[in-house]
Structure formats: structure tokens, C-alpha cells
Amino acid sequence: MNMEFDPVNSVNENIQLLNWGKDVTLKNVDEFRMAIWKLLESDQSELILELTDVAYLNSAALGVIADAVLSAGRSDKELVLAGIQSTVGEIFQIVHFSTFMKIFIEVNDAYTYFDSLRE
């Protein structure tokens, strides 16, 4: 386990947020996968993956994200992405992930989305 980076998990009432703050390459994709699994195992059903400080995701990381979104759905949870930078947004555009997951530019938009679901 790479100890240089410690993803910050924070909880907002019903929502669990994982702030991943590092590019994902082949070097750390397993660490990224572990962090995402931990997020999925949380008690909350509304999950946010914040990527504000991420400028690059390789294809393996995209696989992890897609897998996590689908797995969350199977467990009656919802995982959304937030804080998407232009470089990452470009990648998501290529893989058309927006067709099956919510992607927000701002983190607050993700909170607003979950709030609106509860209303």
C-alpha cells in the first residue's frame, strides 16, 4: 500500500464522499481500486467520488469507476462523480460514461443532486 497518499473520506449525513487527489496510472491503480471498494462498503447509500485534483485517469481506472458504479447500483446505492477537471472530462466524454452515471463538474452539484432525490 502506497502510504504517500491518503484519500480523504468525509461524511455528510447520508452521503459518503471519497476525495481522491492524485492522477491514476498503472502505478497506483490498485490503490485506487482499494479506496473505491472501501467507499462502496460504507453504510451510506449516496456516494460521491471527488476527482477535483485528478488530471488523468488511465483505462484501468475507468474500468474501476465503471465497475464501482455498476456494483453500487446492484447494492441499491448510487455512486456519482464530482469535481471533474477538463482533462478528465475529456476522457469521460470518450467513454460516454455519462450515459450510465452522473458526472458533476462541481462537488456541490452532487450534494444538490442527492438532496433533490430525498425531497
Binding site: 496510472t25 498503472l26 491503480v29 488511465n58 484501468a60 456494483s71 466524454q93 470518450i94 467513454v95
Partner: protein, 561 residues
């Protein structure tokens, strides 16, 4: 008093001699002799008194010293072996009252198995053959609880005769228990120390002396601990020639107190029987209160088996890479269609793959794919797809059917076998059709392909949908690009343009620029230039790369030529 009387007599005699008799006569001599007769017994009595006083003082001191022995109880046993007296604190420890214990034989306190020895010692003291005895004994208190006492006994002298035994007894039960526990722990530690396969050692830096070395060193090197102690350089001497610099370099850094010197290192040792052994070595500094390095503790773990497994794993991975590489399509060079590719594997097995097939007289089907993951599972998915690909491409007439077939395969095969796991891949599948002079393609979430026509204009084969295998229903539409002459087409996986922090658009623009710059060059030059560009931004652990280059020439144009 005796001295005073003597002085008074001397003064009186002198007075009598000088002032009354005024001569040294017979009467005076008789007086003196009379006084001497009277004083002589007095003198002896005086000497006796001094001796007795000193004895009493010494006795008092010894008595006081007994009480200085903290928490010790005092006992007196008479010549018949009966308890004469016991101090209150000793009575408390034993749980008896004074009336219960006094005049009882001391033997009632001791275990039967100890009695013979105790009685022998008692008799030896009483007879005067033993002056004192000191030993640790177990006794039972009134409630039957076993206690451990430290007994010190000496003869009790009265009027110069031995009348019994006196001594003190200190309750050391708790101390014994603590020592017993400590001994158990110590034994366990020793057992661990002697039995583990880890070599533990400690070096006194000041005296340059090895102070601890565990037995495991014999397993690693074949030499006994004693041999290591007698030859302090033995370990260093057995370090593999190629690793000596690593080992000595680190020790030098240790003495310079560089923090990096405490990082783990792995190196080889040569066993007595000539075998090579790998060890992992860790150091821990011992720093004194003056912040000075005074010692080094270290441990060494035999990692030979781990290294063998790693080596076998590496060989397996190399083999898997070779197998993966061997199924990649071979280049085709014809007047109307040329296709070639480069595959640069990552350290681990990757999920990138390409393949092409001649569908019919005028058409080629080409696929580039990237499984969204890495490692053995991704590689196996690649191989699985590869096994199906020929049949799918040659039986399906258009790209939509091919991609849907692949999607079904991914969903049925992998998702049904492992429902909790999702496998998917990005891909571009395209058909080069020489008869209709066009290409038909589907880009399923893959980085854009680039097609450059005769004029140097570049068309982008953009992604038109989600990766294959992600959803049961995959809505894809085939796109068609009509060719107006010859064209060059580049397809690649994301490893080629991986450059964290840079917009993918910028990276793609760089690829486009290279295509334009190398327009007149062969495909080999184009691919080598692109790989060189990719190397500039290489990551510490680079992703694998697939790169396909095609030159397409219309059949009509070819015929004209």
C-alpha cells in the same frame, strides 16, 4: 569511677608524704601496699565492666541490624526445636497467633520433603558445626497457602553456650512469582530467538563488537554462531561479490548517520556449501541521550524462496507476454493495403490487443482494443476475445454486428460466470472496403482514430458509444468515411498519449502533427516517431501501448498507377 578513686588516692598520698609525714617512712610504704591490695580487685572488676559494656553494645547493634532488614520477621527456636518467639509481622504472614505457634516444633511449618534437610541444618547450628545458614524455603501458612521465605539463621548464644537458633525470615513469595514469570518470558524469548529463521544481531558501535547473533545465521550461511564470533568479518566476507558495494556502502552511510542508510536492502550471500542465498536486511539505530550512535540492531530475513517465486513469476509473465504477442496479427503489405503495428507491453500483463483479417476479396476487418484493467485477468480477456475474433469478423457483414457479438460475449461469458465482476473493453472496429472505397467503423469508448487523406487533412474517428461489455444493450451506429484517394490511418491505445495533466486533445494534436510531418515517410518511420513521442512523457510504470498504422490506396488509383 575506678580512675577517679585512683586519682584521689594518689593526691591524698602525695599530700600525706609532703605535708604530714614529710619523709618516706615505713608506715607510708605499708599504706601504699594496703591500697594496692584493695585496688587490684577493683581494677579487674573495672576491666570486666568495660568488656561487658562493649559486648552489650555489639549485641545491641546486631539486634538493631535485624530490624533494618525490611519486612523481615524474627524467630527464635530453642535447643529442643520448639518455637520460642516469633515477631508480629512474621506471625501476620503465617496467619497464626502467638499462642498458637509458641512452643510448637518449628517443623510444623515446613513441607515434609524439606524436613530432613532443615533438621540437619538446625542440629549443625546447635552443635556449633555450622555458624550460620541462609536459604530459600517454602512454608505453608495457616490457611494452607504456599509461601516462599528467605531464612537466615545463627546460633543463639547465652553465657557462651548455644541455647537455640535465632534468625530472620523474609517473605519473598511475590518476588519469586515475578521472577518465575520473568523466567518464563525469558525462556520464551530465548526459544523464539533460537528457533526463528530471522537472524537478529546487535553491534556495539563504540567497541566495534558484535554482542548478539541468533542461531539462524547458521541456516543462512552454514557457519555456527561461534564461528561468527571468532571471525567478525565472516558475514561480510560471504556477501556476493556483486552485492558487496551495496552492503558496505550502506554501513558507511550508517556511520555517517545518513537517514537513508536505514532503508531495507536485499542482497546475496554465498552459503558454506556454495549456494546463493538472498536476504533482506533491516537496520535500527541505537542512539544515546547525547544523540550519538552507540549501537546498531539488525535483522536479516532469508528471502531466497520469495526470490525464486518472483523469478518464476517473472518467467511466467514473460511467457504470457510472448504468447500474447504471438497472437497479434502479422503485417500485410500489398499495393492497395498495408497494415503494420507496434505492441509495447507494460511491466505487468496488459489488456491491449489488435487483430486484422481479410474478410473477402475487397475488405479487411481491423480491431484495436483495450481491456479496462490490467494484469492477468485483462490479459486472459484479451486472449478470449482473440480466440473468437476471426469467426465473428468473418461471419458478420458489418461493424455493428461484430461489436454486438463481442458485447454479448463479454456479458454472457464473464458476467454470468462472475456476476459481481464487470469486464469491459474499449475498441475501434473498422472495415476497410476497397470496392466502395470507404471505411466503416465503430468506436466504442476508445481514443479517437486518425485518418489522413491525400491532402493532409485529418479526419477523427471519434468515440460513438460506451465500452463493450458494460451494458447488455449496446446502441452503436456504424460511421462511414468515404475515401477520395489514398489515406493513412492511425489507431492506438491510451498508453500512447498518456501524459497526466495534459489535455488529451493536445496529445492527439501532437499525434496529428507527427502524421503530417511524416506524411511521405514509410509506416515504420511513422510508428517509430510516434513511439519516440510517447516515450517523452513516460510514466514511472508505463501503460502498455498498441499502435496500428495503415496505408489505404483505392483499387482504381492502384490500377491507374
Amino acid at each position: 569511677m575506678f580512675i577517679f578513686i585512683l586519682l584521689v588516692l594518689v593526691v591524698l598520698n602525695l599530700y600525706n608524704l609532703v605535708f604530714i609525714d614529710k619523709r618516706f617512712g615505713f608506715e607510708f610504704i605499708v599504706d601504699l601496699l594496703t591500697q594496692c591490695v584493695i585496688l587490684t580487685p577493683l581494677f579487674f572488676m573495672y576491666r570486666q565492666q568495660i568488656a561487658n559494656t562493649k559486648k552489650l553494645f555489639d549485641s545491641e547493634q546486631r539486634y538493631k541490624s535485624l530490624f533494618l532488614y525490611e519486612n523481615a520477621g524474627i524467630y527464635v527456636v530453642n535447643g529442643n526445636g520448639l518455637l520460642d518467639s516469633i515477631s508480629p509481622n512474621l506471625l501476620d504472614s503465617l496467619g497464626y497467633s502467638e499462642s498458637e505457634i509458641n512452643n510448637q516444633p518449628f517443623s510444623i511449618l515446613f513441607a515434609p520433603e524439606d524436613l530432613a534437610m532443615i533438621q540437619r541444618t538446625f542440629l549443625e547450628i546447635i552443635k556449633g558445626t555450622t555458624i550460620s545458614s541462609s536459604r530459600k524455603m517454602k512454608i505453608k501458612n495457616k490457611s494452607g497457602q504456599n509461601l516462599v521465605f528467605d531464612f537466615s539463621s545463627v546460633a543463639l548464644m547465652v553465657d557462651g553456650e548455644i541455647q537455640g537458633v535465632i534468625g530472620f525470615a523474609k517473605d519473598i513469595t511475590e518476588l519469586e512469582k515475578a521472577q518465575e514469570k520473568l523466567s518464563v518470558v525469558q525462556n520464551q524469548m530465548n526459544n523464539i530467538f533460537q528457533s526463528i529463521d530471522i537472524v537478529l544481531w546487535s553491534l556495539d558501535v563504540i567497541q566495534q563488537k558484535r554482542i548478539i547473533l541468533s542461531d539462524a545465521c547458521e541456516k543462512i550461511l552454514g557457519y555456527t554462531v561461534e564461528e561468527h564470533y571468532s571471525n567478525p568479518n565472516l558475514w561480510t566476507d560471504r556477501v556476493h561479490e556483486e552485492d558487496k558495494e551495496i552492503v558496505t556502502g550502506r554501513m558507511n552511510r550508517v556511520y555517517k548517520e545518513e537517514s537513508s542508510s536505514y532503508e531495507n536492502i536485499e542482497y546475496r550471500l554465498v552459503h558454506l556449501n556454495g549456494e546463493i542465498r538472498w536476504v533482506e536486511s533491516r537496520l535500527f539505530p541505537v542512539i544515546n541521550s547525547n544523540n550519538r550512535l552507540v549501537g546498531i540492531n539488525g535483522l536479516m530475513i532469508d528471502i531466497t524462496d520469495k526470490k525464486r517465486i518472483e523469478e518464476n513469476h517473472r518467467i511466467d509473465l514473460d511467457l504470457a507476454r510472448q504468447v500474447q504477442k504471438s497472437v497479434l496479427s502479422k503485417p500485410i503489405y500489398t499495393p492497395v493495403f498495408s497494415i503494420d503495428a507496434r505492441y509495447v507491453p507494460s511491466q505487468e500483463l496488459g489488456g491491449d490487443m489488435y487483430a486484422w483479417y481479410h474478410i473477402d476479396e475487397h475488405r479487411y476487418g481491423i480491431l484495436i482494443m483495450d481491456v479496462m484493467g490490467h494484469g492477468v485477468s485483462s490479459s486472459l480477456i484479451c486472449m478470449s476475445i482473440r480466440a473468437l475474433l476471426r469467426g465473428i469478423i468473418q461471419s458478420c457483414s458489418n461493424p455493428e454486428d461484430v461489436v454486438k457479438e463481442l458485447n454479448d460475449h463479454m456479458n454472457k461469458l464473464f458476467s454470468e460466470a462472475m456476476p459481481a465482476t464487470n469486464f469491459f473493453f474499449t475498441a475501434i472496429y473498422l472495415i476497410v472496403d476497397h470496392e466502395n472505397n470507404c471505411i466503416e467503423y465503430i468506436n466504442a469508448g476508445h481514443p479517437s482514430g486518425l485518418l489522413m487523406d491525400d491532402s493532409g487533412e485529418i479526419h477523427i474517428l471519434e468515440s460513438t458509444g460506451i465500452p463493450i461489455g458494460l451494458m447488455l444493450d449496446l446502441n452503436v451506429t456504424t460511421k462511414i468515411i468515404q475515401l477520395k484517394g489514398s489515406a493513412r490511418l492511425i489507431l492506438y491505445t491510451d498508453g500512447l498519449i498518456e501524459n497526466p495533466g495534459t489535455l488529451m486533445l493536445e496529445q492527439v494534436n501532437s499525434v496529428k502533427n507527427i502524421m503530417v510531418e511524416t506524411k511521405l515517410e514509410s509506416m515504420t518511420v511513422v510508428m517509430d516517431t510516434l513511439l519516440a513521442f510517447s516515450n517523452i512523457n513516460k510514466q514511472e510504470v508505463p501503460d502498455d501501448i498498441c499502435l496500428i498504422c495503415m496505408d489505404i490506396c483505392s483499387e482504381k488509383a492502384s490500377e491507374r498507377r
